[in-house]
């Protein structure tokens, strides 16, 4: 049962931020509410104040900034909007693909990407994709505004860099050059993904010029596997395809999953390895 709370429905961002500062005990932001209501209903968290931000204009924007070459996603943008957005499908296909696979359509209709990031549920889809895009978030309070790279935003299971009086007001994702190819792979035997893999590669003159590998759900934070990324540089597609299994092993070793109902630590590492290997092989296809 949800215990009573004071509901605030501010009509401007400054008002919302002022409320956040004013009520610093057990105060929650309500956007879509998918994650929030589940935790409230289960009694895992308690809210004395809920700040519903849905009456604030422009928080549902998706803007493309051509100068910065980045997309700006407001905190009220739902997963479904991102999934269906032509702009996202065209210029950020990995993001669109991830959003398509996320949860189910009812949750996607209501849940926001921002809300998902703020709860830092370790078995969530977006983290790995945002990690390979080198995304960043803007955190605002009444006092200050700061931009935090996604790798610094996630701190631990269910823990982010968000301070008590701060709100996530923007997610910015740089657009990648057209010669990047991406794969999003996930293994989801139950309701929530066990392993997510986001792989981006850029090829030039028959060799891999750049690689980015993000692993999600296999640690307290999403993981960028620098060693793997380095190892791909300058190698041909054939060479990489032949060594895919070994390279994927690097990724597996970097992961830090927890055992649960769905599998042991070793199994989850094996899944990381196999998905990364499969993703790498498919990206090497036809790249000499």
């Amino acid at each position: 049962m949800i215990t009573p709370f004071a509901l605030h429905q501010p009509r401007s961002l400054p008002d919302a931020l002022a409320l956040l500062s004013e009520h610093d005990g057990e105060t929650k932001i309500l956007a879509g509410g998918s994650e929030l209501l589940l935790l409230l209903k289960m009694g895992l968290i308690k809210a004395n104040h809920i700040i519903d931000i849905k009456k604030i204009p422009r928080l549902d924007r998706i803007d493309y900034d051509p100068q910065a070459g980045a997309i700006h996603i407001g905190p009220l943008v739902t997963h479904r909007t991102l999934e269906k957005s032509e702009l996202v499908q065209r210029d950020f296909p990995l993001l669109a693909e991830m959003e398509r696979d996320l949860a189910n359509v009812r949750i996607r209709n209501v849940g926001t990407l921002a809300g998902n990031l703020c709860f830092a549920e370790p078995h969530a889809d977006p983290a790995a994709v945002l990690a390979v895009y080198d995304a960043a978030v803007t955190l605002q309070s009444s006092e200050r505004e700061r931009r935090v790279a996604i790798k610094d935003f996630f701190m631990d299971y269910y823990e982010t860099a968000l301070e008590k009086n701060e709100m996530l007001t923007d997610i910015d994702i740089p657009k990648l050059p057209d010669n990047f190819r991406g794969s999003y792979l996930r293994f989801c035997p139950g309701e929530w993904p066990m392993v997510t893999v986001a792989l981006l590669t850029r090829w030039a003159d028959g060799a891999c010029a750049e690689a980015r590998l993000g692993l999600g759900c296999v640690g307290p934070r999403p993981i960028r596997v620098g060693e793997f990324e380095q190892a791909l540089r300058g190698k041909s597609g054939d060479e990489l395809a032949a060594k895919a299994d070994k390279l994927a092993g690097i990724a597996a070793q970097s992961s830090d999953p927890l055992a649960d109902l769905w599998g042991s630590v070793e199994y989850k590492r094996q899944i990381v390895k196999n998905l990364v290997r499969d993703g790498l092989r498919s990206q090497c296809d036809g790249r000499g």
């Binding site: 949800i2 709370f5 509410g33 998918s34 209903k41 519903d52 189910n104 949750i107």
Partner: protein, 162 residues
């Protein structure tokens, strides 16, 4: 904590309502208990099963995981709103004709989810139906006859539109 009331004005199945709800009231309880619309059912209570599906401004959402005050300014469709003056909606007829229900408990949510699918994609393939409808669970039918019901309704609705 005082239980303050939140005024809301909204449409349900085409009818306007104006009332007050407690901030922490859930949409599903408001619909079932205050408005007497017991067609919407509760099952898993955690957005997994979709039994509680309603259409909020045409979008399929889980009424078990939304506050009642979210109705403000919105247009809600529940299962009770599908039958029109001309009779049952093609989806309702199709579910009867093609065996899309058995115990019927998941059926209101399932039909509404299907309605939102057909609004978005009036001529879906079998694969597209399964992918979209995967959001909701049925324990009785084994799903195939639900798929057939939806494909049948889609055909009927397309024919009617010509």
């Amino acid at each position: 904590m005082s239980e303050e009331l939140v005024p809301i004005r909204f449409y349900v199945n085409g009818e306007q309502h104006e009332t007050q709800v407690k901030a922490h009231d859930l949409m599903i309880d408001f619909l079932r208990e205050r408005l007497g619309l017991t067609g919407t059912k509760r099952s898993c209570d955690m957005e997994v099963c979709g039994t509680c599906t309603v259409l909020l401004d045409g979008k399929a959402v889980s009424s078990c995981s939304l506050f009642a005050f979210e109705l403000d300014g919105k247009n809600l469709t529940t299962i009770e709103g599908l039958e029109g003056p001309d009779g049952l909606h093609p989806l309702q007829k199709a579910f009867i004709r093609c065996g899309g229900f058995q115990c019927g408990f998941c059926t209101p949510g399932m039909i509404l989810l299907a309605k939102s699918l057909l609004m978005e994609n009036p001529d879906p393939t079998r694969e597209q139906v399964c992918e979209y409808m995967d959001a909701n669970i049925c324990r009785c039918t084994g799903y195939q006859m639900i798929v057939e019901s939806i494909l049948h309704a889609a055909k009927e609705m397309q024919a009617a539109n010509r």
